[in-house]
Symmetry: C2
Subunit: 158 residues, 2 copies
């Protein structure tokens, strides 16, 4: 790792430790960097914020978008103390981040009691094989809304 890489990863790990010790959530931290500068910091605050989506990466993405006034983080990279769970990984795709650097792995997370690995195994399954009940309800009225979007002249894609 270059000095800059080590510094950004070090900050992500530092956040994971500090905020865990403050009892704000699980031991996870992340920073988002653009042009060699940190634009946001995130940490896990699931239990303190009553928000199961408030993982370090999702929190850092939200903060970065607020700071930069955009819904696209193209040109930015994320450093995270642990491999992103599927929620955070998909959020990284939606946010259009350029790259992801992580320290601990999903296996390490599973070993200390987090469901990352389980959820990774659930995502590719067929609907009917998942641990959670899922039902597809086909409705023409829902299709019609999608068609309305398709032809909408002033839509903003993301």
């Amino acid at each position: 790792m270059s000095d800059a890489h080590a510094r950004f990863m070090g900050r992500a790990i530092e956040l994971s430790a500090e905020r865990m010790r403050a009892n704000l959530g699980g031991p996870f931290g992340a920073v988002i960097v653009r042009d060699g500068e940190i634009v946001s910091e995130g940490f896990n605050k699931v239990t303190s914020a009553n928000d199961p989506t408030a993982h370090a990466e999702v929190s850092a993405i939200r903060e970065a978008c607020t700071a930069l006034g955009t819904f696209s983080l193209e040109g930015c990279v994320i450093y995270t103390s642990c491999e992103p769970c599927p929620m955070c990984l998909a959020a990284i795709y939606w946010a259009r981040l350029d790259a992801v650097y992580f320290a601990n792995t999903r296996k390490d997370a599973a070993d200390i009691g987090f469901d990352d690995d389980h959820i990774y195994r659930e995502i590719p399954k067929e609907i009917e094989d998942r641990a959670i009940e899922m039902r597809h309800v086909e409705l023409q009225e829902a299709r019609d809304i999608f068609e309305e979007w398709r032809v909408k002249p002033d839509k903003i894609m993301y």
Copy 2:
């Protein structure tokens, strides 16, 4: 569908249409229900809130957790106008929802320009095969924080 199911799904679809027409985001709506009552409503506000994580389901989950003062939605179900993307599906697992009912599919979403299906295909890949650059940086200091969590006496699991 029972009358109650049809009513909840109808509300999710109604939200998807109303909020799209108000130019708040993509054509997606969701409601979370407990004991036959709607506890939260969500809609896509990615472009209006500058938040790439603000999909209908994630928004509904965050609202429900705020309304109920909890990070676990056990005992609740979600109705959504479209099959959840991997971010929202993983969020549903983290939130411990009991069941998911959806109308349009990920293929329908792909057909009108959304990346759901692409991201579904990316998630199960090996790190090095993904469209986004991902690097594992092994660091003992990160492992130490996980070990600190493992033995932490007052931790709150989720």
